[in-house]
Amino acid sequence: MIGKKDLEHIGWLARLELSEEDKEKYAPKLNSILDYFGEIDKADTEGVEPLYHVLPMSNVFREDVPIKSLTQEEALSNAPKNQDGFIKAPRMM
């Protein structure tokens, strides 16, 4: 069961600010998702190979050949703030 504490933790991990109202709303939704996984857990998987990846493929590679990168101007064009070629972000912690 996902309680208020868990919800606050999940919110913090995603850096989402959740209002009391949000918490009321999301808790039952997340719990119903968890319940559904509970259903899946009941399936008998005896002798079934684990599925590691949804695509039935392996070994897709790229050669070690350089491509043209973006220019610094292009790279910075989506950043809200920049300084001396760096992207500027609020200080962490």
């Binding site: 933790h9 991990l13 995603a14 850096r15 590691y52 990846h53 949804v54 695509l55 493929m57 392996s58 070994n59 897709v60 590679f61 790229r62 050669e63 070690d64 050949v65 350089p66 491509i67 990168s69 973006l70 220019t71 610094q72 790279a75 910075l76 989506n78 300084q83 001396d84 070629g85 760096f86 992207i87 500027k88 972000a89 609020p90 200080r91 962490m92 912690m93």
Partner: protein
Amino acid sequence: MYENPDGVMIGLEVHVQLNRLKTKVFCGCTTDYHSDPPNSHVCPVCLGLPGSLPVINKKAVEAAIKVGLALNCTVEEHTQFYRKNYYYPDLPKGFQITQYDFPISSGGYITIEGEDGEHRVGITRAHMEEDPGRLVHEGTIDKSKYTLIDYNRSGMALLEVVSEPDMRSPKEARRYLDKLRNILEYLDIFDGDLEGALRVDANISIKGGQRAEIKNISSHKGAERALLFEIVRQKNVLRRGGVVVQETRHFDEAREITLSMRSKEEAHDYRYFPEPDLVPLKISGWAPAIKATLPELPDARRLRFVEQYGIMDDHAKALTSELKFAIFYEDVAKKVDPKMAAVWVCDVLKGELNYRNLTIEAFKKEHILSVIDLLLNKKITEDGAVDIIRTLLDKGGSPFEIVKEKGLLKVEGDIVSTAAEEAIKENPRAVADYRAGKEKALNSLVGAVMKKTKGRADARTAREMLLDRLDKS
């Protein structure tokens, strides 16, 4: 047997940047960014822009296998990538592509010189991941208002080599790091001189306590210092009846201390899940072919040097502990007496280079050959040879010029003989002292001979000639 009285257990996680590749691990941006402006080697993939898709660099996988094999690991049948989720500005996507329960190789070891002789340190695993970007803080990390980000480093191929907690002292940890770096250099997969090429996290515990993880160690010396500090800290906590808790600590390189990081940061909840954009790899079949191309590694070369050149094991060890030195020595040893070459390259040249903080590139092979040649032909004294090496390092030039300029040509025997005679005549007190049994008085007479010949006499010859005369009369 090493007792390990404090029950010290150290395990290391070393991040190796595969910076000899031409491109990053999941995109074609070049790795050659070290002297370029920030954010000038980036693309939608390494900037984590929506809709971009990573594709793995085949050479990076080959390099990872190479390292795994050199560390005696098994290359796994099935390997795949995961997303490690955490929120920090050096990760533009909000997650790092790394490996989790299917690393590319595992179960190896490195042999180091331990506290009680040869010691084996287990390698738990070596897994692939992408490097985060570089953060620059204005002022100090805890006072700056902003974080500046350069994503040129973002997406560089990293190999994280995780050891077992098999090291029993900070010294062993340092030797492990030296050995690992040495092996990596031999494999030609990374340039250890580039910034950020090798980064270390250390786990350390002592008997009766939990382990601490120390982050932010950027040098081998730093690792040793951080661990030494940490052992003292943990022992003090226990002595005072406290509890050593499991925690992450930050190494402050300038102050040489470790500091506890805030608990919130510690609440790791990475929510690993398989990376849907990268399909699994089945590459264990590549191992035999790659193994066949592995170069001679340090331990093998050390043994060969002893056998092939008849040099002492200590010399062989010192010479092979740096690839460039090993190559330099071997080139020299092929042309002159290998034993003499070992003495002059290892004992003299290496010491003079270390003293000046220089690398072997600062000295020409032809020059050491000339110096050894001059010595073999008895043209110069050993002191003269050292003088030439020092002058070459400090001022440059050529050995022959230096010999001429400094007048280092060894003087003939009869000149030494005359000087010895004069020295005896001019220093009656020293002669009397010597005859009275004061052996040390002979040194001042040798000094007098050297002064008269301006240091060009061979000290041993001078001594013999003096003794000869003193004993006769």
